[in-house]
């Protein structure tokens, strides 16, 4: 496959073509010994293997005349299964890559559409060659393809907007889905009654079952689409949250109606039981998730001795949560989400930075692969599957789905707005309605239906609706968003000021609620936080980290990111795009010019930075050395300035300088494969203390323990506003206070401007 590697623009279509050709090559080759074996239960039903009969044949041959020892032999059969699986995945990923290389197409058409088209093509090719395509197995889908996507979504769920809008989301998810299901089912039944459509024989229960399958908004499609349109956080979380939480409704309705349609009739008792079942399914799922989440958090408390397997715990506990919920027919999706949400803050406080990155990347990777495979399979299964096309039914279904969604959203918003502080405007409602895409879950559920004459009819209609929503709505939503001037996502990097004010506001509003005597939203949140701090954190977070408040974690996280980014970019990589040269001396009250100043760094910081430097020493050596020539005038008071230590200081200073001198940059388009926005989230971030076992209780920088000290001569200060005895001024880059202007200019040369995505990108590139 080396020929495919250099993927330049012009070769991307070539790439696609070659891939398809290769696939074709293998399939006929593999089918050379085709045998129409009866359907076995394996998921990949490519031309069946038939080695059994050939082998004895061979053996009899070999006993008859002695063959020469085979130096090179061809035995495809025994690697067939893993080979084909890998081939499929590779194809999927190459497709994905190709799309991003062709810029024109990927701006207009969302990725999901392209992948489905590829699936269609592949399916068409397979059919043309008259092979049997891999049959879409619902088990494969639900057990292997869906969990990574949901776990990824749940683990990185932005908690704050989610909980703030929880009421709205639940309304849409539960009531909205129910409305959709019954409305669609009812009207379709009505249509079926009309003689002209020749659809007699479709009873009410089947129609309702059909309605329940098609009514649910699909998280995969929504996720894939909304990632690309960068809509504001509120709308994103509304549609996305709805798509996640409606799983409980779908599960209950589906099983309920399936049972009923077998039984044939419904009684009132059954209906009541159905309602009870809904609560059991959803709350039970959440409970299972919470249990596993707590287990996972507790386990992570002890993993400091074996860092390498930390990510595995997260994945396995979550997957177990999903499977356990499925055992009891509870909602697996809700369980998975609950597990991820509960586990995350504690796990992140416990695990090392590397494990955090590993988890992040593995989740993104798996969910990316799953999503790609899912869409391709959808395309293949469309070409493949038995279809029964009935114009009336299909057209009507598509139309009714749209209508029901719009009606549902508008109606519910009218009710919801009475209870919301920030009301949903018409534009918001439109986006919510328009963003309700259906996807592969609906298809899989349809596939699970028992084989009666209705199944094919339903499947065809489901596929049509999926295609319509994904293609038409998916392609047009981006221009519509721009046309309607819907608020886009804010490009903010983690601003310490905003973090401070977020916390400040929380306490302020809690206080005001207390004054009003009103037990509102903030009051309960505050209570929960206090419970969390006093009990949960003690049990679930190891060591001293349990007492670290959020603001400090946030701050440390930012510093860490800056440090690593700076060091790993070679510390002299880019010219700054920022014109700001404000530094600490600008905000500190004026002091005498003759200052010998150096930053004070705690021992643990030293060690970390030393490690980083060691790792990057090859790259940075040259530059740092040349740089250091300028700064020899730095305090000769420090006796044993070893070169490494000196370099580390420089890096530290530079890091701080750049950290403080950055101005929020304009957003750059990240060409990262998985386009996800890592927003500043209300989570406890990790702080890597794995390498500094002797680290003090608090991550704060203490007074200087050793020769590195911040020496300030404290002369008369006329302007004593700040009163800064900056002896242990911690993070302040005192180094900025150099006499010569020239120094500062030279320093500023080395400052990079970490725009929000650049940071991430850098991180991603390095790791």
């Amino acid at each position: 496959m080396a020929v495919l590697r250099p993927a330049r623009r012009s070769s991307a279509p070539l790439l696609t073509g070659v891939m398809c050709a290769l696939l074709l090559l293998f399939l006929p080759a593999a089918s050379a010994s085709r045998d129409f074996a009866p359907a076995d239960n394996e998921t990949w039903r490519n031309p069946a293997r038939s080695t059994q009969e050939e082998v004895p044949h061979h053996q009899t041959n070999s006993t008859a005349h002695k063959k020469a020892f085979p130096v090179l032999s061809f035995n495809y059969e025994h690697v067939r299964k893993p080979f084909e699986i890998s081939l499929w995945i590779l194809l999927a990923l190459l497709m994905k890559l190709a799309f991003h290389i062709i810029p024109r197409v990927s701006h207009v058409v969302p990725e999901s559409c392209l992948l489905i088209v590829v699936g269609l093509l592949v399916g068409g090719i397979i059919k043309a060659v008259d092979e049997k395509a891999p049959v879409f197995d619902s088990k494969l889908f639900f057990f292997y393809l869906l969990p990574p996507i949901i776990l990824d979504a749940g683990y990185f769920l932005p908690i704050r907007p989610f909980t703030e809008n929880m009421g709205t989301i639940l309304m849409f998810a539960v009531v909205g889905t129910l409305w959709n299901a019954f409305f669609i089912g009812g009207t379709v039944y009505g249509i079926c009654q009309i003689e002209a459509a020749q659809l007699g024989g479709v009873d009410l229960l089947s129609c309702l079952l059909f309605g329940s399958i098609i009514s649910a908004v699909d998280p995969v499609s929504v996720l894939s689409l909304f990632e690309e349109i960068h809509i504001n956080e509120l709308l994103h979380i509304l549609v996305f949250g709805e798509s996640l939480l409606n799983d409980a409704v779908t599960v209950v309705l589906y099983h309920l109606l399936k049972e009923f349609s077998h039984a044939g009739s419904v009684t009132v008792v059954d209906a009541v039981l159905g309602v009870v079942c809904f609560f059991v399914v959803s709350l039970g799922g959440v409970l299972v998730g919470i249990i596993y989440g707590v287990l996972g958090a507790f386990t992570s408390r002890f993993t400091s001795h074996s860092r390498v397997i930390e990510p595995l715990f997260v994945f396995l506990y979550s997957y177990m949560a999903y499977l356990s919920a499925e055992v009891f027919h509870l909602s697996g999706i809700m369980s998975l989400i609950a597990c991820g949400v509960i586990m995350r803050p504690y796990v992140e406080a416990n695990i090392s930075h590397k494990s955090y990155t590993t988890i992040k990347y593995f989740l993104k990777m798996w969910s990316s692969v799953s999503e790609t495979l899912m869409f391709i399979f959808l395309g293949v299964a469309t070409v493949e599957g038995p279809h029964e096309w009935n114009w009336t039914f299909v057209i009507f279904t598509v139309f009714i789905c749209l209508v029901s969604r719009v009606l549902g959203v508008v109606g519910l918003t009218a009710i919801i707005n009475k209870f919301r502080i920030v009301k949903l405007s018409k534009k918001d409602q439109f986006i919510v309605a328009y963003g309700g895409l259906r996807g592969a879950i609906a298809f899989s559920l349809g596939f699970l239906l028992t084989d009666n004459e209705m199944k094919n009819l339903f499947l065809t209609a489901i596929i049509t609706v999926i295609f319509f929503t994904v293609f038409v709505q998916g392609m047009t939503i981006k221009p519509l968003v721009e046309l309607l001037a819907v608020k886009r996502k804010k490009e903010s990097k983690g601003s310490i000021n905003e973090e401070i004010h977020t916390q400040f506001l929380d306490h302020l509003l809690t206080g005001i609620e207390g004054i009003c005597g009103h037990y509102g939203h903030h009051h309960w949140k505050d209570k929960l936080n206090r419970f969390n701090k006093s009990y949960l954190k003690k049990w679930l977070i190891s060591g001293n980290r349990s007492t670290e408040p959020q603001l400090i974690s946030f701050y440390n996280k930012m510093e860490m990111k800056q440090a690593m980014m700076l060091v790993e970019s070679g510390s002299a990589a880019k010219l700054p795009r920022v014109s700001s040269t404000a530094s600490m001396q600008n905000i500190q009250p004026k002091e005498q010019p003759r200052r010998r100043a150096m930053p004070s760094i705690s021992k643990s910081r030293e060690q970390e930075i030393r490690k980083m430097l060691r790792a990057n020493l090859q790259n940075t050596k040259q530059r740092l050395r040349s740089y250091s020539r300028h700064d020899l005038m730095i305090d000769p008071l420090e006796d044993n300035v070893s070169e490494v230590r000196f370099r580390k200081q420089r890096v530290e200073m530079e890091r701080r300088m750049s950290h403080y001198l950055t101005v929020p940059a304009k957003r750059q388009e990240t060409p990262s494969v998985r386009k996800v926005w890592f927003g500043p989230e209300q989570q406890v971030f990790t702080y890597d203390d794995s390498e500094s076992p002797g680290r003090p209780a608090a991550p704060a920088r203490r007074g200087p323990p050793d020769a590195i000290s911040l020496l300030t001569e404290s002369p008369q200060r006329t302007n004593q506003r700040g009163g800064t005895q900056a002896a242990n001024g911690g993070a302040t880059a005192k180094a900025g206070e150099q006499e010569e202007q020239e120094e500062q200019l030279k320093l500023s040369r080395f400052l990079s401007d970490p725009g929000p995505n650049k940071e991430q990108e850098e991180e991603e590139q390095e790791e």
Binding site: I500, L508, G730, Q741
Partner: protein, 216 residues
């Protein structure tokens, strides 16, 4: 909430409603609360606020209480502090937390935002000089972290320093090494928190108050 009939002085309410934008119902409920807090007196003093148990564990309690007695929040362009407030001032301060209505023009929304940010600014600027100095900001961060025990002063200082630098770099851009950044003025504050969407966040619901909880 069915106790509207026992409200005194409807005509006063019209006046207050116009001034603050609350509805009659909300004013009634708040009046009840006022009377409760002041033990049926006419004015509230700081020690009345100190009695509220829910406020006891709030790290920024002192600032919140101070905000009620700060003349700058009474919308009369006054300055300085008072020792006691009447119902009208109480209501005016509370009105800073009203949510913006749905049908507002962009300009009105901007006004609401400015007003709320002004309230926050006043809370930070304790010496009434129109700027938030480094020391004042440090104090804010310290208070926020005051419940976290040992980590205390140094970290608070670093965080406040970092924040201040951020403001400086955003507002001032290029600065000479010997220029001195006095402090965060209100314009800089506005600029800093522009993306914060405060009009969506700094709100509480005023109507859903149950009578039982009023007993606290």
């Amino acid at each position: 909430m069915g106790a509207l009939q026992s409200l005194p002085g409807q005509p006063e309410y019209i006046d207050l409603a116009e001034k603050t934008g609350f509805s009659f119902e909300q004013i009634g409920v708040l009046h009840k609360r006022f009377k409760q807090l002041s033990h049926n007196g006419e004015t509230l003093r700081r020690d009345h606020f100190n009695e509220i148990p829910d406020l006891a564990c709030n790290p920024i309690r002192a600032q919140i209480i101070e905000a009620f007695f700060d003349r700058r929040n009474f919308r009369q362009n006054g300055e300085g502090t008072v020792e006691e407030i009447g119902f009208e001032e109480f209501l005016v301060v509370m009105s800073h937390f009203r949510p913006p209505s749905l049908h507002m023009t962009e300009e009105q929304r901007e006004n609401v935002r400015t007003e709320k940010l002004r309230f926050l600014f006043n809370m930070h600027d304790t010496d009434n000089d129109g700027t938030i100095t480094l020391e004042e900001y440090r104090h804010v961060v310290e208070e926020l972290l005051s419940r976290s025990g040992a980590l205390g002063k140094d970290t608070a200082k670093s965080i406040a320093d970092a924040a201040m630098l951020e403001v400086a770099s955003i507002s001032m851009g290029h600065m000479e090494p010997d220029e001195f950044y006095e402090g965060i003025t209100f314009e800089h504050f506005l600029k800093l928190l522009r993306g914060f969407e405060i009009e969506a966040k700094m709100n509480i619901r005023f109507l859903n108050m149950d009578t039982p909880t009023l007993c606290k």
